[in-house]
């Protein structure tokens, strides 16, 4: 089981530096580990705990709360079919049934080749194109049975590799570096601004009293 690679440890440290308290980086670091390994491995959680000075149980305790953090292996493509109200009204349930037949797995299952895990998802906020689904958090709308099968074929053949990265990759755009303003500078500026505000208030009151 892999820990975070040195390159990812460097990224993790930079992420931690963005927050007033290290623990705030917990979810971003879980996403980072999931990007590295495709799921959140016990060793990665232990490593995250070390970086944040928490216990592995604390990391698992938080990770297990969130639907997107997978503490068990999942397929390279996580297919999440929405069946919530807007999709329900537009054939979402039928789409999910088709997905089960087409992939040969039931909800929660992973295909034998490890390519696809199927989930029935809650609303993914793409109701203008209901019924819709996500593959690795990338949106596909107005999906019918034929479009679903085509999508699966394209994913299997790697034709969508550019738009749908492997499961776990949340953002391919990185923040350019850490914080740019020293905390002391912010504190000094705010103190000065507050003082100016107080002066203006006092002047206005004096004006009003005259």
């Amino acid at each position: 089981m892999p820990r975070l690679t040195p390159a990812n440890v460097a990224r993790a440290r930079e992420t931690i530096s963005l927050y007033p308290h290290p623990r705030s980086a917990l979810i971003p670091l879980c996403h980072l580990a999931q990007e590295q390994d495709g799921w959140l491995t016990p060793d990665a959680m232990e490593h995250i705990a070390e970086l944040l000075e928490l216990t592995p149980a604390q990391v698992l305790g938080v990770a297990s709360f969130y639907d997107m953090l997978h503490t068990e292996p999942v397929g390279r493509h996580l297919v999440a079919v929405c069946t919530n109200i807007a999709c329900l009204l537009s054939g979402g349930e039928e789409l999910l049934e088709h997905a089960e037949r087409s992939l040969g797995v039931s909800v929660g299952g992973t295909t034998a080749d490890g390519e696809f895990t199927l989930e029935d998802s809650e609303c993914i906020a793409f109701c203008e194109e209901a019924p819709c689904l996500q593959v690795n958090s990338r949106f596909f709308g107005n999906v019918d049975a034929a479009r679903f099968d085509q999508l699966v074929e394209d994913l299997r053949a790697g034709r969508l590799a550019d738009s749908v990265p492997r499961h776990g990759t949340l953002s391919r755009v990185r923040r350019d570096g850490g914080l740019k303003v020293p905390a002391e500078r912010v504190a000094a500026e705010r103190a000065e601004a507050d003082a100016a505000r107080a002066r203006r208030k006092a002047a206005a009151e004096q004006e009003a009293g005259r």
Binding site: L18, S24, E122, V173, K180, V186, R197, R200
Partner: protein
């Protein structure tokens, strides 16, 4: 018709395919509001937004200006933007995040200046991968342009902004659940009092939590004045609002319309908006303000999209989501699906919500499956009453956060409006809609 002739405040750039890039943003007046705000006194910026009477666009509809004024004095103050849009059938923030991220960043910076925030965080729902990429790219551009970071535009005001991804939990849309999540914890909403993050927020420091659409309105208000914003709409419902219309309409989508001057019927039927009910069918019922809101029948279609008007009629505009259900819809199934959502998303802290949602889901499922009993209908209302006593509107609450009292509305709405349909399920031993 004048319905579509009002200024577009938050969606003005949507017509451009590159609406999310800095060049387009600057070419369409971007960051001029920030420059103007930085030339004003912070309290005058806040007063301008207060004059607009901008109601929060997240769901609770709390006036943004008042929220800002409640901040407890402290050397450390945080601004947190809620982009965790997860209310079923609500997809307006999703569009604002993907299609105009700079507008959100600019609104955030103006707000940070007005309240003297020492750092700002934009919490984006984890499932919005493209949105997170666009927001991150936009923030990088904004830093390079000098709109974020030290000494913004030479004004002497400095601030850092961090884009923070969520990881899939509806409960984090609640502002105190969101703060817990941002602190690296489970998204458990906090026990009240203290009621407001303005008193006790992120890391216990005074914090303002504002919605993404609320922030998107701020640059326009600074450029055009709070009075111009307040001139739109009526009463407390000022300005425009982005409504997410879905379900059985020809043209589902997010439409920005003037508050209070537009009706649900306009939204559903206007050819440039919903374009009417699909397949020429009729509206059987609709959900006026997100899955948590009590349903309306077609008799309420002529009601204006006004926060106080909808409230007076026993429901809410809530998250700005309108779901149209036509006469082919099984109301038991629709209500069951919403209840199942709440059951899955209950965080489990409070017994009425955790246990009640589970029982309600089971009872609704068995009625839909044809195994219901007539006494189940009273049982449903009894369990609902334990979560939200007396089933009144606005709801009473036995739980820490509003998720609990959000569960009864789909049940009592469908049951009061379509009791016959429940009875048919029970007597015929199955769903008449197949």
């Amino acid at each position: 018709m004048t319905v579509t002739s009002v200024p577009r405040i938050v969606t003005a750039r949507f017509e451009h395919p590159d609406s999310y890039e800095l060049d387009r943003y600057l070419a369409t007046g971007g960051y001029t509001a920030l420059r103007r705000a930085l030339s004003m006194n912070p309290e005058d910026v806040a007063a301008e937004v207060d004059r607009a009477s901008l109601l929060g666009r997240g769901g609770a509809g709390f006036p943004a200006g008042r929220k800002w004024s409640m901040l407890r004095p402290s050397p450390v103050r945080y601004l947190v933007i809620n982009g965790d849009e997860s209310e079923p059938a609500t997809f307006k923030d999703h569009q604002l995040i993907e299609r105009d991220p700079h507008q959100i960043i600019e609104g955030t910076l103006i707000t940070a200046y007005a309240i003297g925030a020492t750092q700002a965080f934009i919490y984006v729902r984890g499932e919005f991968a493209l949105g997170i990429e666009r927001m991150t790219a936009a923030l990088n551009e904004a830093y390079r342009y000098g709109a974020v970071g030290p000494d913004i535009f030479g004004s002497g005001f400095s601030i850092d902004v961090v884009i923070h991804p969520g990881a899939g939990a509806y409960i984090c849309g609640d502002e105190t659940g969101l703060l817990e999540s941002l602190e690296g914890k489970r998204g458990f909403p906090r026990i009240k009092p203290p009621y407001y993050p303005a008193v006790y927020g992120l890391y216990h420091e005074p914090t303002v939590v504002n919605n993404v659409e609320t922030m998107s309105n701020v640059p326009w208000i600074i450029l055009n004045g709070g009075a111009a914003f307040a001139a739109l709409g009526e009463g407390a419902s000022t300005g425009t609002r982005l409504f997410a219309l879905s379900g059985h309409v020809r043209r589902p989508g997010a439409y920005e319309v003037e508050m209070a001057k537009t009706t649900f019927r306009d939204l559903v039927e206007h050819p440039d908006l919903g374009g009417g009910v699909r397949n020429g069918r009729k509206v059987k019922a609709f959900i006026p303000g997100g899955a948590s809101s009590p349903w309306f029948g077609p008799d309420k279609l002529d009601l204006a999209l006004s926060q106080e008007g909808v409230q007076a009629n026993g429901s809410m505009l809530g998250s700005g989501s309108v779901v149209i259900m036509d006469d082919t819809t099984c109301m038991v199934r629709a209500a069951w699906r919403i209840v199942r959502f709440f059951q899955r998303e209950s965080c489990g802290q409070c017994t009425p919500c955790r246990e009640g949602s589970g029982w309600l889901e089971k009872i609704m499922r068995r009625i839909e499956a044809g195994a219901g009993r007539e006494e189940d209908l009273d049982l449903l209302l009894d369990v609902c009453d334990n979560i939200s006593p007396e089933l009144v509107w606005p709801p009473q609450q036995t739980t820490i956060c509003p998720l609990g009292p959000s569960i009864p509305p789909p049940i009592y709405s469908s049951l009061r409006m379509f009791r016959d349909e429940f009875l048919v399920h029970i007597k015929e031993g199955g769903c008449p809609y197949g």
